[in-house]
Every structure is written in structure tokens, then in C-alpha cells.
Amino acid sequence: MASVGIGGFYRQKKRGEVAKPTPKRSGTGKSAAVALSFTDPDQSPVLGAIAEHGKTASAVAFEEERLRQFDLDMRYGPCLGLSRMERWDRAAAMGLNPPADVEAILLKSSAAAADCHWEGRI
């Protein structure tokens, strides 16, 4: 008989759980156009996780963050299914002027997150 509360050894909340971001609604509230905003740091789950773990912004974390921002930037198109370098090249070929510092990070480190942030997760 389970009369004693099992909360002690059965965790009911995941360790380090981050609240999911709510999508922003545009000005009129009745509008059928739903906005998707990923570039706002307050809404990004990733940055939230970093903050919660209390990591200091080391150079590696900063680069990861910069690459993730590039992944989630809508202007350069979808990020799944392409490596980051391919996506950067595609954006450059289409004349979208992708940020040069992202290219610098991608060229520097060969293994550094070649695939985008969502790869394997979706």
C-alpha cells in the first residue's frame, strides 16, 4: 500500500526545467496573424537555460549562442536539413548579407556544431 508520499524518490519536476516560451501576439489581440519571434533573448529557451545554470559567458558559450541566433533568424530561411556553413553560403548567394562574424566562427572550428541547433531533435 502506498500510503507514504512518493514525492521523496519520485521527482515530479524535471531537473533544470525551463518554461516554454509563449508566442508573442501582435497589437490587436483579435488578429489572425500570429507572430513568431525567436530572436528575442527573453523568449529563447536556450538562453534561459544558460542563465539558469549560472554559466559565465565563456567564449565557447558565446560562440554557441551566436550560432544559435543565426540558426533561428528567419531572414535566412529554415535551418533544418542544412549544415550551418551551407546555410550561410546559401544566404550569401541569395544576397541576404549574413553576418560576417558567424562566418568567422564557422570557418575557425571544424567540428563546432556543423549541424543546426534543431538537428536530431525534430
Binding site: K30, S31, A32, V34, G77, P78, L80
Partner: protein
């Protein structure tokens, strides 16, 4: 290539076949070792929207110079503006894979309709920031399909829909100026839907066509006429393999010949044709090529006899080429047949005109027509207007000359299925006029 003519009481006169300068432009449709890495179709839609949006942004100032251009996200209520995006048509009758799992079967009709258009279909405009339903009576959903990019002038209503006041399509693309007309008549013959191997194929009928074109029939007049034919295009569906054999079961050796018979027969006929003039063969829906567009060229191993000739060209579907500087663009029919299923028009030529005005060869790909998930380009965008635009495997022969606002002129041709109609199409390169070439083997006409 020479055709011998026996003149009555005299030495044989030699007629030389005319030639035209041919340039194959199929490179954009070939898959150059691009691998499928599990990507989805969002990339094609992104590149399509990007290209068409830049194009439409350049046209908007001439159309409505004083209105602001917004993204879907930036719409404000009751403020007139222009938005550019991809159309999505929500169709009630469109078959969905999920219908198989739905508990209520009553919605799915038992008989499959040929056309999925329904009065309740409505349009939605979408760009990266969001999507908005379109309201107003200006746009008739039955004339549109998912996948085209347009600019809309209107305003947001209190319900959150976009009330459309006006629409701008990209219009016919600019055309490379047609070279000065040739002095002599040169003809191109189009044929499609041979369906060798099917019950409707009549070998005598096609043999008549081959003999006529290669100059083995008729008197001197006929042969002179035949010597003016410079190119032969087969626009898809050359073979038809019995569906029952293709269900994955192993076939007994004695039955294996039924698989290869149609292709062998086609090779023999192509051999005769390739010996006489340049032949382009395009794959179609029933040919042994890949299913999704762009279909890759039929493998040369299938045609051991014909591929020995350098006049034999196996091309992609869609097919783009140049003959004496005249631009040709054509498909084996999948693009127009798909438009026919999901929208309405008075005839197939109107569908063809719409694809040119939308500047996209296959607007319904990848929504309802399979295509390869390209990541960096959309090869079906029409960047420059062809002089001749042909579509194969249609029900009947139709043609018209389409004129654009910028002095473009395009010859639109619907090539009928040869196995059903016995009709091939001849195009005169000098003046882009078309006529039908009809073959019949029945004795009681």
C-alpha cells in the same frame, strides 16, 4: 542525312535534310549528385518566396506607387497596404493521408473525383512572419493553387482577415528577342503518349509516322516536305508497363520478357528515327524514370541501339533547349494535369498561360506533385519567357499564340496522346505556326 528519291526515268536525286543549331539547356533540371539528407520542403518554398518577392517588390512601385509594403506580421487594422507572400489554398476535398486514420469515414467520398475543387475552398497568404486569411470577392479560389507568389493590395479587417482590393501577378517574364525570321521553312515535330506496351498502342500507326518523317513514304513532294523537319521531340509516356507486374513480387523468367518488350520495341523505333534526325526523348509519368520532378533523363542503357547515334538525346522533364536561337520549354504534362485537378480554367491552354504569368512551371510542387527537396534553389522558376511552350500527354491538340505586355510572344502547344488520337504536332520555326499531323490505320474512315 540524305534521302534517296527515285525520279521517274532518271538518276536518283538526293535530298538533304535541313539542320538547325541545337543547344541543350537542361542543366538546371539535372540533379548533380545532390544527396537527400533528410531535408524537408521548406527550403524550396523559402527560395521561391525570396526570388518572387524581390521580383514583385520591383514591380510594386509601378503598380501602386503610394502604398506602403508590409509583411503579414506588420498588418494594421483598416490601413491599406500591400503584402507579398505565397498563396495556400485550403481545399475541403483534397485527399489527405490522415483520412485513412480518421474515425468518421462518411466525409471521404467513395468515388474519387477527378477535380478536387469545392465552393468552400478559401485562400490564405503566407510569408515567414505569419499567415492571413483572404477575404473579399476579387479573388476566385478556383483559379488559384497553393504555391504561387503574388502581391495583394488591401487592408486588414476587424475579424483579422485581409480584405483584398487588388492583386498583382509577376506577369510574363522578359523574353530574349526573337531572332529575325528565317528565310526557309524548318519544322519541328512533337509527339507524346506513345504508350508502347499498352493495349491502345497501334504499331502500324507509329511506324507510319516514322516512315513519313524519315522520308520513306510518298512522292517527291512529300519527301521534300519531310526533309525540312529538323528535330523530333517525344514528350513523355513512351512506354507503358503492365501495372500488375510492378507490385514487387518476383516474376518468373518467362514473364520477364513482358517487362522488357515495350522498351525493346521503343528502341527499335528510336533507332530508325535517330538514324534520320536528332531525337529528344523526355521521361513521363509512366516511363521508367524517377517519379518526382524534375525527372532525370532515361538511362541510355535502355536504348542500346539508339544511343549509339549522337543524334539521340535523352533529356530531363521539364526540358529546355534552343533551336536556331528559338527558346523552347516543355513538360510531359504533369504540371498541367495537376493544375487541372486542383483548379479550374476553360481549357488547358489557360492553365499554361497561368503558369507563365505566375512565372513558375510547376506551382503545385511540392504540395500535391512530388519534387526533389532542393535546398538552395527552385529550378522551376521561369526566368525568361520561352518562344515555344509545350505540354505533352493532353487529351486533344490545342494551340494559341500568347502575347505579353512587354512585346513577348509565346506559342503554346498542347500535344495530344498519340496512342489515342494518332496526332503529332508540327511547328514551323520560320513563323512559329503549328499544324497537326494525323495518322490513321483504319480502312473505313
Amino acid at each position: 542525312m540524305r534521302v534517296d528519291v527515285e525520279m521517274s526515268g532518271g538518276s536518283p536525286k538526293l535530298l538533304e535534310r535541313k539542320q538547325a543549331v541545337y543547344r541543350n539547356l537542361d542543366e538546371r533540371y539535372e540533379i548533380h549528385g545532390e544527396k537527400y539528407k533528410g531535408q524537408q520542403y521548406s527550403h524550396i518554398y523559402f527560395t521561391r518566396l525570396h526570388y518572387m518577392r524581390n521580383l514583385l517588390y520591383s514591380l510594386v512601385p509601378k503598380w501602386k506607387p503610394n502604398l506602403p509594403v508590409n509583411t503579414v506580421l506588420g498588418l494594421e487594422e483598416e490601413k491599406e497596404c500591400i503584402i507579398v507572400g505565397t498563396i495556400y489554398k485550403h481545399m475541403k476535398l483534397k485527399p489527405s493521408i490522415l483520412d485513412e486514420y480518421s474515425k468518421e469515414r462518411s466525409k471521404v467520398p467513395l468515388a474519387k473525383p477527378h477535380n478536387f475543387v469545392h465552393p468552400d475552398d478559401h485562400l490564405i497568404l503566407e510569408d515567414e512572419s505569419g499567415r492571413v486569411k483572404l477575404a473579399g470577392s476579387l479573388l476566385d479560389p478556383s483559379a488559384f493553387v497553393t504555391g504561387i507568389v503574388v502581391a495583394l493590395h488591401g487592408k486588414e479587417t476587424s475579424e483579422g482577415k485581409f480584405f483584398v482590393l487588388d492583386m498583382l501577378e509577376a506577369g510574363l517574364p522578359p523574353q530574349i528577342k526573337q531572332p529575325p525570321s528565317l528565310t526557309e521553312d524548318k519544322f519541328v515535330v512533337f509527339v507524346s503518349g506513345l504508350s508502347i506496351g499498352s493495349s491502345t498502342f497501334n504499331p502500324l500507326q507509329f511506324q507510319l509516322l516514322v516512315d513519313h518523317i524519315t522520308g520513306h513514304l510518298g512522292d517527291e513532294n512529300e519527301q521534300t516536305f519531310a526533309s525540312q523537319i529538323v528535330h523530333f521531340i517525344i514528350a513523355g509516356n513512351s512506354v507503358q508497363i503492365l501495372q500488375g507486374l510492378l507490385n514487387g513480387q518476383t516474376i518468373a523468367p518467362r514473364d520477364q520478357s513482358t517487362l522488357t518488350e515495350p522498351i525493346k520495341e521503343l528502341d527499335i523505333l528510336l533507332n530508325q528515327l535517330a538514324a534520320a534526325m536528332p531525337v529528344d526523348i523526355m521521361p513521363g509519368p509512366s516511363d521508367p524514370a524517377n517519379f518526382s520532378l524534375p525527372q532525370q533523363p532515361l538511362n541510355r542503357c535502355l536504348f542500346p541501339g539508339a544511343s549509339a547515334y549522337n543524334t539521340f538525346i535523352s533529356s530531363t522533364n521539364p526540358h529546355q533547349f534552343e533551336l536556331d536561337d528559338i527558346q523552347f520549354l516543355g513538360t510531359s504534362g504533369q504540371n498541367i494535369d495537376d493544375l487541372f485537378k486542383y483548379s479550374e480554367a476553360k481549357n488547358k491552354l489557360e492553365f499554361m498561360e497561368r503558369t507563365l504569368r505566375w512565372r513558375h512551371l510547376v506551382p503545385t510542387a511540392p504540395n500535391t506533385l512530388g519534387c526533389f527537396p532542393f535546398t538552395d534553389r527552385d529550378p522551376f522558376l521561369i526566368e525568361s519567357c520561352p518562344h515555344v511552350y509545350f505540354v505533352g500527354n493532353q487529351d486533344k491538340y490545342e494551340t494559341t499564340l500568347l502575347r505579353g505586355s512587354d512585346n513577348q510572344s509565346v506559342r503554346l502547344i498542347c500535344i495530344p496522346k498519340f496512342c489515342e488520337t494518332g496526332v503529332a504536332v508540327m511547328l514551323n520555326l520560320r513563323n512559329l505556326e503549328c499544324h497537326a499531323l494525323s495518322f490513321s490505320t483504319s480502312l473505313n474512315v
